[in-house]
């Protein structure tokens, strides 16, 4: 069993990074001193769609302290290039998605509010801001389109000349004929129409970039919060700036949240580096909150019509989806595979559905580009899939829990190949349901509902199956060095954004080498010191770095063995390694790993990632809501889940990941909506006054039970857990709300479940038709 591979794992070690972070020792990009650095401020388009006229920067340049004012004229002359997607999708005829140029500053047109149109560089931030107000950009406004269905409609304003009908790809997956045949013989078909609101990342630390110039090396160092320095370095150097990678070192220190939108390279980073290269001086920029709302990638903007076919016994026969994915104004770094592959991975949820088909029209609109955010295509999919399952249960008079049990992939069916071609690695969904109902105290619900009703409130209980298919790039080389000073340094190409890599990686190494975790230091985020890395994304860092560090630790032990033999004057074959030391078999003569390093020099072990990135963590979430029927306000009274996360490395960090993910899903379900005005194309949620994030008192105490099956896909049996909770939370909340409202005649509800929307639905249901 994989559980036994590293017996030391699974301890509730408190986060090693917390004493430093909690006592002010954090080092975020804005904490890095750069005496004499110039400050950059970006001028952004106030229009959703406009033709650009020649800019006049004369007055801005004349302001005191201004060193440079750049517009697209300058960046085009300098040859700054396209910020490309690194993944691709193809339509049924094999044609790659349409990817119009995405330059740091667009020369001809602006395509969303907040797009960069000029950069002002001055000796102080205030002077840069003052000068930015004097940059004269001429615009000829054009009609704008902001929603996916409006963009796909005939006669819609065209965002890119290269994309007729605003379509960048008509994407399909699955067997349409098999699905049609299943629907033709179905005893019942349930349908939902779903619009997923667009949401923002809202990391605590907004984006920033500091580019410092080293004249001696003719090198710029870009310090910036990221999800991995190597992807940034590659795209900035190879595609956008066209400079050799040796001329750009990319460094990431502490990061205040990533969630996906911290992965792509953005215009500001390339422009700050370019300005430093051009001016041969340090340049820095730090984003304000509204810039985050306007110009970082958004997520989840999806419209779907989905249908589920059941036979007379309630078995699922097929599922199909007709969908529009709003990509925003450009194709962002990994988005081609987010709404598409993200949906395909989880469309069949935990169920044995023999046939499935997705038709997805991917469209451009005059909105900020959309890309991966925690869950990456899966939370919105699971909302409508799990809603659909509940709806089918209601429409056919079945219990939603029993219907799920009937259709679960059976525990003896793994590895299980889904109708859309994915291979679920392991699981026991019946047990997950048992544990979920236990931890969610399903049996006590009736009593709690009666109490709510007595107080004039409605109460609903919802369940949602959910899962994740971990992804990401296993371009990992882990380097573990036992130093002569009694410490171990481990270098890795994944990047913590706050989730505790320094602790869990140290636990893997401590378990592998038999040394205390306190001796281990994790080094990340430096393209000069770390040879390669795919960064962090797709819930796979523990899989990628954890398994590779285990391999590197084995290399260390092998390398240390000969030296130990020399030092002990024994034959290597007679040595065993245990508990941090080599012992001569049958004697009490031993030498510790650190002593070997102290006497014979540092010991290095390197390994490349050699497992499979993909794993399938799963869960069943339960949620109870209380609804005030007079005001439509929804309170989440309970939220619990049973999860299969494979091998648990640290139960404290696991709980933290789960809680954060549930809170994220709760925000998406109840309040978050980055909505654009349909006429003007203005973002109506430009500040945190207009974009509601959940607060502590909006969230219940989260509970969870672990019902794991180890993944056979990697040496440690780990499954990636970061996104799993987000994928199921909104679905469980919607199902709980619908459980309370359906008896009153409410048939469908859209997210977010604002008081207004819930009250309106109740009003409409009460109105005699």
């Amino acid at each position: 069993m994989a559980y036994d591979v590293l017996p030391g794992l699974g301890q509730p070690v408190r986060r090693l990074e917390d004493p430093r972070l909690l006592t002010g020792g954090g080092r975020f990009t804005d904490d890095v001193a750069a005496p004499g650095a110039l400050h950059a401020v970006f001028v952004r388009s106030p229009h959703a769609h406009a033709t650009l006229l020649p800019a006049d920067t004369t007055d801005a340049r004349a302001m005191p302290g201004v060193v440079a004012v750049y517009t697209a004229v300058d960046t085009v002359a300098a040859g700054l290039g396209h910020n490309p997607a690194v993944v691709e999708i193809k339509d049924a005829s094999g044609r790659r998605h349409i990817e119009p140029p995405r330059l740091p500053m667009a020369p001809d047109k602006v395509r969303h509010v907040g797009e960069v149109v000029a950069m002002v560089v001055a000796d102080t931030l205030e002077r840069a801001k003052d000068a930015a107000e004097l940059v004269e950009i001429g615009y000829e406004p054009l009609p704008a389109v902001v929603t996916g269905d409006d963009a796909a409609a005939s006669g819609a304003p065209r965002v890119h000349a290269a994309a007729p009908g605003n379509v960048l790809c008509d994407w399909e997956r699955g067997d349409r004929a098999a699905v049609d045949a299943a629907f033709a013989r179905a005893a019942h078909v349930s349908r939902v129409r779903f619009r997923s609101p667009r949401i923002l990342a809202s990391y605590l630390e907004t984006r920033s970039a500091l580019a410092t110039w080293d004249a001696a090396k003719d090198q710029v160092t870009l310090t910036t919060p990221s999800q991995g320095v190597h992807v940034l370095q590659r795209l900035l150097c190879d595609n956008i700036l066209h400079v050799p990678r040796e001329r750009l070192r990319v460094v990431t220190h502490d990061v205040g949240g990533g969630f996906g939108p911290r992965l792509p390279p953005y215009a500001e980073q390339s422009l700050v580096v370019w300005a430093a290269l051009t001016l041969k001086r340090a340049v820095r920029w730090s984003q304000d909150r509204t810039e985050h709302h306007l110009a970082d990638t958004h997520a989840r903007d999806l419209i779907a019509e989905a249908s589920l076919a059941l036979d007379a016994d309630g078995r699922f026969l097929a599922i199909k989806v007709d969908s529009i994915a709003n990509f925003g104004a450009f194709v962002s770094t990994v988005n081609p595979t987010i709404p598409t592959g993200g949906m395909a991975k989880v469309l069949t949820s935990l169920y044995d559905i023999p046939a499935a088909h997705i038709a997805m029209r991917c469209v451009f609109s005059n909105t900020a580009p959309v890309d991966a955010f925690r869950g990456a295509g899966k939370p919105e999919t699971l909302v409508f899939v799990e809603h659909l399952v509940d709806k089918a249960a209601r429409e056919t008079g079945r219990d939603p829990i029993a219907l799920r049990r009937l259709n679960f992939v059976r525990a003896d069916a793994f590895p299980y190949r889904t109708a859309l071609g994915y291979r679920y690695d392991s699981g026991d969904f019946a047990r997950l349901m048992d544990e979920a109902l236990r931890v969610g105290d399903h049996s006590g619900f009736a009593t709690r509902r009666a109490a709510s009703i007595a107080r004039g409130r409605l109460r609903g209980f919802g369940v949602a199956g959910h899962l994740h298919g971990s992804g990401g790039w296993g371009d990992e080389t882990s380097i573990v060095t036992v130093g002569a000073d009694g410490t171990i340094e481990a270098r890795t190409g994944t990047q913590s954004q706050g989730q505790g890599h320094a602790t869990v990686y140290a636990q893997v190494l401590a378990a592998s080498l038999g040394v205390p975790v306190e001796r281990i230091r994790i080094v990340q985020g430096d393209s000069d010191r770390i040879p390669r890395g795919g960064g962090t994304g797709g819930s796979s860092s523990m899989i990628i770095s954890g398994t590779t560090m285990k391999r590197a630790a084995d290399v260390v032990i092998a390398a240390a063995k000969d030296r130990a033999a020399d030092l002990l004057e024994a034959a290597a074959a007679d040595l065993v390694y245990d508990d941090g030391a080599f012992t001569i078999v049958g004697t009490d003569r031993r030498i510790g790993l650190f002593e070997i390093a102290a006497r014979a020099g540092a010991i290095e072990g390197r390994a490349d990632f050699a497992d499979t990135v993909e794993t399938w963590p799963t869960g069943v979430a339960t949620c109870e809501v209380e609804i005030d029927p007079e005001t439509g306000s929804v309170a989440v009274a309970r939220f619990d889940a049973a999860v299969d996360v494979g091998t648990v490395v640290n139960p404290l960090l696991l709980a933290g990941q789960l809680h954060g993910g549930y809170a994220t899903g709760l925000g998406q379900a109840l309040m978050e909506s980055a909505v654009y005005d349909r006429e003007s194309g203005q973002l109506l949620a430009a500040t945190l006054m207009d974009y509601a994030l959940p607060r502590a008192d909006d969230t219940p105490l989260f509970g969870h039970a672990i019902a794991s099956t180890p993944s056979p896909n990697n040496a440690l049996g780990i499954k990636g857990v970061g996104e799993l909770p987000t994928n199921g939370a909104a679905a469980a909340i919607l199902n709980a709300v619908m459980d309370a409202l359906a008896p009153l005649g409410v048939v469908d509800l859209q997210l977010p479940l604002t008081p207004h929307r819930v009250w309106q639905a109740l009003q409409a249901a009460r109105r005699p038709s």
């Binding site: 003052d130 309040m671 607060r695």
Partner: protein
Amino acid sequence: MKSPPLGYVRAMDMPDVFRLRANAGPDARVLAGGQSLLPTLAFRLSDPGTLIDITRVDALRGIRLVADGALRVGALTTHAELGRDALVRVRVPVLADAVGLIAHPAIRNRGTIGGSLAYADPAAELPAVCVALDAVVIAVGPAGERRIAARDFLTGLFTTALAGDELIAAVEFRPMPGRRTVIHELARRSGDYAMAGIVLAAGPGTPTHDPRPVFFGVGDRPILATRAAACLAVGGAAALAAAQAALDGDLDPPSDQHGGPAFKRQLARVLLARAVNSLIDARDAR
């Protein structure tokens, strides 16, 4: 600093305030708690040229009883001070109750009652409390003091009866023996501006005696619902339902990010019932 370039001067007493204001010109703004003004500067939505800091002017501070038994609350009294003041707790407890609904502790520590009234956000709590209690706003200008009833002071969306050279010196709450007042609001999240709110004063005696329901967040200023009040005053089993129905004539709520007019009216009906019931509950509990 994110703000546009601006001058800053600090006034030490009232003559200072008037002199500095006269010198600084019409765009200059008075700085008290800064909880609304400073964000507009950070977004560069306003460009006042000069800020005149009045926070050191003692004449604008303090909570005390004045000659006719009224409670005089200085304009610079912060929400936090209001919330913990013993005299307020005894004389005008609803002010302290209201503080618990205003934003978050950090904002309550800086924001002032004078600032809240002068800003005149229609969703703010304190202006509605002032209208419900028939408080008097004391405006002071170079020519002296002027007493303005709160309902006349709040003239519209973010607008007041203050003249260009005046500022708020204090708010006075006259004694109302036996009268009780409750505040309720429905907000999306704790600390948010209310989707809708009510301050209901009534008594002495039964909640049907001279009821004064004032709504906030449903119009361009706090709205005294006179038709609903008349229905409540009738008393009897049908009074509440009649008052709720009468709100349709009292309120003409605009749409905002929380919902449309029909939803706002519904919230107002719910709030009226909850406020009336809590007055009855409070009486029963005594």
